[in-house]
Each structure stands twice: as structure tokens, then as C-alpha cells.
Point group: C2
Chain length 361, copies 2
């Protein structure tokens, strides 16, 4: 096949791998195009000058209208959700020193390093059937200064019950624990509306990447009612990266102005794909949760490391090892690709699994 | 004047302050427009997808041709020079823990916080007449793991002698000390060519902001021959911000392709402004260095804090307090604005100083 075989040990291996009849269930990136209306008349010098560290006022005003009771001053526009999370944890470190942060396991693979790079200590609560185990959560939360919630979740595709989120609101508020709520998939929920976690110590993280297919522009934001967190993030960002790229902010603002049907139309497409891949994998005998949000499935499989290597080298199919998300014995498939490709990918997986039925049990 | 008077204590006060007949010698941002050729045909989905964490290969290849012996793999494209410096110091912290970093004083005001946020400890060598005092440097360098050099310098406008830079190369190489060389003004030297500091432990920082008037896009880079530094920066960036905005990278690449005359034409404009402001301030009786690079002057003045406040509130002229750069008893003026505005600004300053001649001595 011309591809040199090296043992694949992290998602980094697949970055930039493309073309040549490869079907990728790897990266969590929408294949859909961004709204057309965002491209007009960008050749104005205004879009190439330094801007406010917090972000463009018009964009923050538009965002504030999406959150009940919010003010433009409660937002910081960042280089994607990644920088938003990084700034929040670094701010917490500046204020409180080396404190503990509760993470749910399995997790998005950037969470533990981002917490550690900020000088904080990650501790874990194991998800039960892909959702927060509130009994374990209530035990662990007493010993931490902050908790990171990600619903809809990457990699599980699960959405937390509103009851669970309300219970988390209550106990964290009582204990004065920061809740960092990474809601980058909030517009990709198939089952119900997103429940926005609220509170004095709640820090909402979001981005324009998934909703508007603007991943490469890197525009995200922090929303917090606690001025200390906003100020802490700005105090860092003024030195560590300055304003978020102005052109990206302008395009994000324009994207927010396109009709709602852009987003709802996309959700319909995601749902169709969700149904297809869930049905296909179930029919093959996989044991998996039906995704309620985001665009990931996390089916069980034995020898997941070998599966990732075999599928890539022998069948040109990219899937991620669950172990990279601390979900051993599973693989993660992103279904952010068009139906015919999903179909072809599943057919190759089916071919590969022929005679390996015991791996799915 | 309608402006509410608050004591001005940092450059943050002036961010976004504009218009209304204000003359700003504040922010270090070119007023010149970016090259026209960078705006064509950007409405392609490719420019909105995730990219390599290191940066687009074509941009890194183009950069590698500017540095003798360099390879595309020696570069990481970042959210401006700020993120480049942040990633380098955080990498050094990951590798070596809480080590010391030597900074030259006066300094660009982000340097001390960026070093401290990364968990490192800044120590200082005082510039002598705006340039590195090699005797003091050689004493201090023995006790640090890294040193940050900025030539041409913000805020002094000085360019270090080639002899000094060669001596720094030699001693740091002998001691195994990292040299972080922030060369964002390297294309804005009026007196001679830039001397590129070289070596195994040298880390060059640069950006497209000043040369191509692309400040708001936030595209900069790290260039290092030490693969540990490159790998360290990428290992952080994959989690803390992911790829630098792709559209900005594409525009930076296009900017690099415009004829050399774009840059040389700009330098001629900067030089004309430099001569004008240097002449004007000298004629008023100010004691200042003639800028050799960048676009700043740092004249002496007593009561610099009061001067900053008075000039803004009474004369609508923005200048920065030297104290913000640890250059007490001076003010910093950026001359990144057109000649008629410089002229008007100087005339207002002259009016303000009437009867205050003793402040300049």
C-alpha cells in the first residue's frame, strides 16, 4: 500500500493524513462547509489591526443575547475552545495555586495535559455507562477546586440528564467549586435542547468550530459571570497571545447572523448520519451507546490497539483507539463525513471483522 | 472634553481608544495597509479546516528559505510572537522546572509576566545607554537557563551591535543557555542589516505583524534547530490552542510572495518618520536616543506619570509611561502613524511643555 507501518499510538499520527482512498472516522471536524455569507468584503484594514484582548465588542454583544442575563463584559473571545480552557485553568492556578481538578473518564484527550500544563492536578470520576455517576461525583467533588464537564461528550456521544446537571449545579455552588462546562457540541444534540449549567462559579466554554464548520479559524470563547475569572483570563491573554484573530472574529459574527435554518439543517444531516452509523455498527454486532449529541460513537472491541493499526494499514480506515481517551477496549469513530463514505468505511470494517466476532463480545 | 479622568496606570487603558481628534503615539501597530494581494479567493473550505499543529507546510517551507540551513520542520507557526514566546517558556518549564530567565531592562512589558506565568523566574540586566552591558550580562548569564534578547528593541528603538550579539552567541553556547531572540522588528532596521543570532540553543521568534501590517491576524513563529524545543512547543500547542488560524497563515504566505519592494518601500516611510520625530523632539530639548530600528523613541522626562495623564486628558495625545517598561523618567512614543499626525502630536506636546523646560533636564 506504500504506507510505512509504524505502531500508531496517538491521534497526532493521523493529523494531515488525507486522500488516497482513505476513509477517516478520526478527527472530529465537520465536513460541511461554513455559511457562504461570511466571505464578503474582508479587504478592509480594520480587520488587520490589533483588537481588544477580550474580543470584538459586536461579537460579545451578539453572544450575550444567547445567554439569559449575560452582558458583553462576561465574555472573552479566544483561539478556539482549547485556548479558552487553557486560560481558565491558568487563571485558577494564578489565583489558587496547585489545586485539584475533577475530570470525567473517558475524556477528551486534551483535558489531562491542559490541566497539568497549567500546574493543576487532575483527579478522576469514572463515567457509568458513559454518563456521570452522581454518587461517585459527589464523593470526589468535595476534594477539588474545579470540575470539567463536557456534555454532549467527546468521545462518548452522550448527553448528561438535566437532573444530573442540576444536581451538579447545586453541589458545586454549595461547595464553591468552579464548574468549567465545555459545551462546544451544544448545537449538536439530537434528543432534546441543551441544558445550560448556570451559577456564580460556572464557566461556559464554547466555540464556532463545530456549529459553523469554522474549525481552522480557531474562534471560541469563555463566558463567566465571575469577573475574577474574566479578568484573570484577560490578564494572561494580553501577554500570551493578545487579541484572537480579528478576521476570524468577524467571520464568526457574520456566521451568527445567518438564518437559524443553517444550524437546524445541519442537525438534520448529523442525525441521519448518526442513525446510519449506529444502525450499521449495531447490525455488525457492536455493543455501543446510541449518540445523543456531538458526532462520535465509542463501540466496544477487544484488541482496540491492533484494530486501529490493522484498519489503517490493511483497509485504509482511520479510527481512534479508545485508550487515547482512557476508554480501553473501545474505538472512537467520528461520523463527520458524508453518508457514502460512512457506508464504504463500515463495509471495510465489516470485511476486516469477518471471523473476529468474538472480539465484539 | 467628555473623557472621565482616571489615573492611567498601564497600556491596557488605551486599548481600543481611538478617534475624536486623539493623536496616539501609544500602540506599536503599523498604520500602513497590508499587501493587497492577500485577499483573493479565500472562500474555499480548505481554509476553514483544522490544520497541522506546527503550521501549514507551504508557509514553513517559505520561511525555511529565509534562514540559512533551515528546514520546514524547524518551525512552529503560532498566534503571533506572543504565543511563540509563551510556548517556548512553557516548554522550558516542562523540561527543566522553575529555572531563571535573564531579561534586559527596560523591556517590552509582556516579558516579565510571560516568564512568570510559565512558572519561571525573571532576573535582570540593566541596559547601558539602551544597549546590553556585556560585562553585567556575562556576570548574570552564568546563573540562568535562558535569556531573552530583543533587537531591534521595544521600547528603546536600539539595535545591538553585531559584536555584542556575537559575544552573546559565544558565551551562551559555552554555558548551554537558551537564547530566545525576539526579532519581530528585524525588517525595520534603518542603519544596517539584521544580524541573526545563531546556535544550537538559539530560538528565534518572529511574526508577520510588523513587516506586513497584519497585527490583528496574529500569525508569528518559532524557529529553532533544537528539536526538543520544537517538539515541546507542539506538545503544548496541540492541547492549548491547536493550529494557528489557517486563513491568517494563508495570508501570511501570500504576503511573503509580494515583491521585496513592499518591505523596502515601507522602511523608507519609517525612516522618514523616524527622522521627523527624532528631529522634532530633539529641537524641543528632549534627551533621547536616535532610533536604529523598530518605531519607538524613549525620551527622558521628569514626572512621566503625570505627563502621560496630562497629555491624554488635556491635549488628547497618547504616550506610554516609560515606567511600564521599567524605564522610569521616560515616555515611549510609537511613530507608527502618518507624518501630519506626528506633526500635530508634537505641536501639542510642545504646547504642553511650555514653561516646563526643567522637566527635560
Amino acid at each position: 500500500m506504500g504506507i510505512k507501518e509504524t505502531r500508531i499510538t496517538s491521534p497526532a499520527y493521523f493529523v494531515g493524513v488525507d486522500g488516497d482512498n482513505i476513509i477517516s472516522f478520526g478527527s472530529g471536524q465537520p465536513d460541511l462547509p461554513p455559511p457562504k455569507d461570511i466571505f464578503k468584503d474582508i479587504a478592509t484594514p480594520r480587520l488587520f489591526k490589533y483588537g481588544l484582548i477580550k474580543g470584538e465588542i459586536k461579537l460579545r454583544e451578539a453572544l450575550s443575547k444567547q445567554y439569559p442575563g449575560a452582558n458583553a463584559e462576561d465574555f472573552v473571545i479566544t483561539n478556539g475552545a482549547s485556548e479558552a480552557i487553557d486560560l481558565v485553568f491558568r487563571s485558577i492556578h494564578e489565583m489558587h495555586g496547585r489545586v485539584k481538578v475533577l475530570l470525567c473518564r473517558p475524556y477528551y484527550y486534551s483535558y489531562p495535559p491542559i490541566v497539568e500544563f497549567a500546574g493543576l492536578e487532575p483527579v478522576y470520576t469514572d463515567l457509568k455507562d458513559g454518563r456521570i455517576d452522581i454518587a461517585d461525583f459527589e464523593k470526589k467533588i468535595k476534594h477539588v477546586k474545579a470540575v470539567l464537564i463536557n456534555s454532549p461528550s467527546n468521545p462518548t456521544g452522550r448527553v448528561e440528564d438535566t437532573g444530573t446537571l442540576r444536581a451538579i449545579e447545586k453541589i458545586t455552588s454549595k461547595l464553591g467549586v468552579y464548574v468549567i462546562s465545555d459545551e462546544v457540541y451544544k448545537d449538536l444534540i439530537y434528543e432534546r435542547e441543551n441544558y445550560l449549567i448556570k451559577g456564580k462559579r460556572v464557566i461556559t466554554i464554547n466555540s464556532f468550530s463545530k456549529t459553523y464548520s469554522l474549525c481552522g479559524l480557531r474562534v471560541g470563547y469563555i463566558y463567566a459571570r465571575d469577573p475574577e475569572i474574566i479578568e484573570g483570563a484577560v490578564n494572561l491573554k494580553v501577554h500570551t497571545s493578545m487579541n484572537t484573530n480579528i478576521l476570524g472574529q468577524e467571520m464568526a459574527l457574520r456566521a451568527m447572523k445567518v438564518p437559524k435554518s443553517f444550524v437546524t439543517g445541519q442537525t438534520a444531516i448529523w442525525k441521519e448520519r448518526r442513525d446510519y452509523i449506529y444502525g450499521g455498527l449495531s447490525a455488525m454486532g457492536f455493543n455501543l451507546w446510541k449518540p445523543e449529541g456531538a458526532f462520535y460513537v465509542l463501540p466496544k472491541i477487544k484488541n482496540s490497539g491492533r484494530v486501529v493499526n490493522d484498519l489503517y494499514y490493511k483497509h485504509k480506515v482511520i479510527v481512534y483507539d479508545g485508550a487515547w481517551f482512557d476508554a480501553p477496549g473501545r474505538i472512537r469513530l467520528s461520523y463527520a463525513l458524508e453518508l457514502p463514505k460512512i457506508k464504504e468505511g463500515l463495509s471495510r470494517i465489516s470485511k476486516y471483522l469477518n471471523g473476529k466476532g468474538s472480539w465484539l463480545r
